[in-house]
């Protein structure tokens, strides 16, 4: 499927697996990126340590696109500020907007996300907003200049899978942008299902970080995402509403 590229903001990617880098050892990042085949990795921006601690950038293989998030932002203004600091760190102009008002469910604030998307898209960012799957909001995000839409499958870090399945399907069917399922995907089978539905890519972090063997789980996700993508491209077979349909010839039986 060499011609099957994921295009985000004019950039082409072969991989449809966006990798998070949170909650696991820096020493595992390179292996995770390689085994996952990931070409995009997410990062967060935080106050720097003064001690010369190891920097995550030293662990990310060359050629991988960095996708800073705006985690910690509680409104559009804070998200814009974090995005600009991320860009000043000198690693490109991609940004994943993440705006949350509560720490219990970590649900995205869709309205503030639309505002931040507009400001940052006008400022030249490739804007990838994380959002609660709502068709009207997705349309507003597209009009505001979003490069992709990133609906949540279930609450961040929950590993609960496609709780919002039907609403993500609506976005896939109606929005002419890559729909990247972000947050809550806990198992490769769930990633595969989202890809079969027509999702453009999967973003996963906690599913790997909390797995028993991170690189092996990265491999499993890669295979699941590729399998789901191929199934989508192939076109799934139809489902009967009732009854059965023989797979074998209905003639030539060994009987009178």
């Amino acid at each position: 499927m060499n011609n099957d590229k994921l295009i985000i903001g004019g950039h082409e990617f072969n991989s449809r697996f966006i990798l998070g880098s949170g909650k696991y050892s820096l020493n595992l990042i390179e292996a995770a990126v390689k085994v996952a085949g990931a070409e995009i990795i997410t990062l967060a921006v935080r106050r720097a340590n003064t001690k010369e601690q190891e920097n995550i950038l030293d662990y990310i293989p060359n050629g991988v696109t960095l996708l800073p998030n705006t985690s910690g932002a509680r409104n559009a203004e804070e998200a814009v500020r974090i995005a600009k600091l991320a860009r000043e760190l000198g690693c490109g102009n991609f940004v994943k907007i993440e705006i949350m008002r509560d720490t219990k469910y970590l649900l995205p604030d869709n309205q503030e996300t639309i505002k931040a998307t507009e400001v940052l898209a006008n400022d030249g960012f490739v804007v990838m907003p994380y959002m609660y799957p709502d068709l009207n909001v997705a349309r507003d995000l597209k009009n505001a200049g979003a490069a992709t839409i990133m609906p949540l499958a279930s609450p961040i870090g929950s590993n609960k899978g496609l709780a919002t399945r039907d609403f993500i399907q609506i976005l896939i069917d109606e929005i002419d942008l890559p729909i990247i399922v972000d947050a809550g995907i806990g198992k490769p089978s769930q990633a595969c299902e989202a890809m079969e539905m027509g999702a453009a890519a999967i973003m996963a972090n906690t599913a790997l970080a909390t797995a028993g063997n991170l690189p092996l789980m990265a491999a499993a996700f890669r295979q699941a995402i590729e399998a789901g993508r191929n199934a989508y491209l192939a076109g799934l077979g139809r489902v009967l509403t009732r009854g059965a349909s023989a797979s074998d010839p209905l003639t030539g039986f060994l009987r009178d």
């Binding site: 997410t42 967060a44 010369e52 800073p68 600091l85 760190l89 973003m203």
Partner: protein
């Protein structure tokens, strides 16, 4: 006094470069916001910290 990442320090008169190096920051790996505005790296040498300045020094960390 200068407020840096929430902490008050007596570094008035330092240039931005001098302060960052003395504190052990890796200049290539940080971004700086001075009084709410991003300070471009090209301006670090000539920017002198003064009483009442507020500074944020950030870098990338793991995240999802």
């Amino acid at each position: 006094m200068v407020k840096i990442n929430g902490e008050q320090l007596g570094i008035d008169g330092y240039s931005m470069t001098e302060y960052l190096l003395s504190a052990g920051y890796d200049i290539k790996r940080v971004a700086v916001e001075l009084n709410g505005n991003i300070l471009p790296k090209a301006d670090y040498d000539e920017t002198l910290l003064k009483d009442g300045d507020s500074l944020e020094v950030v870098s990338f960390v793991g995240g999802g």
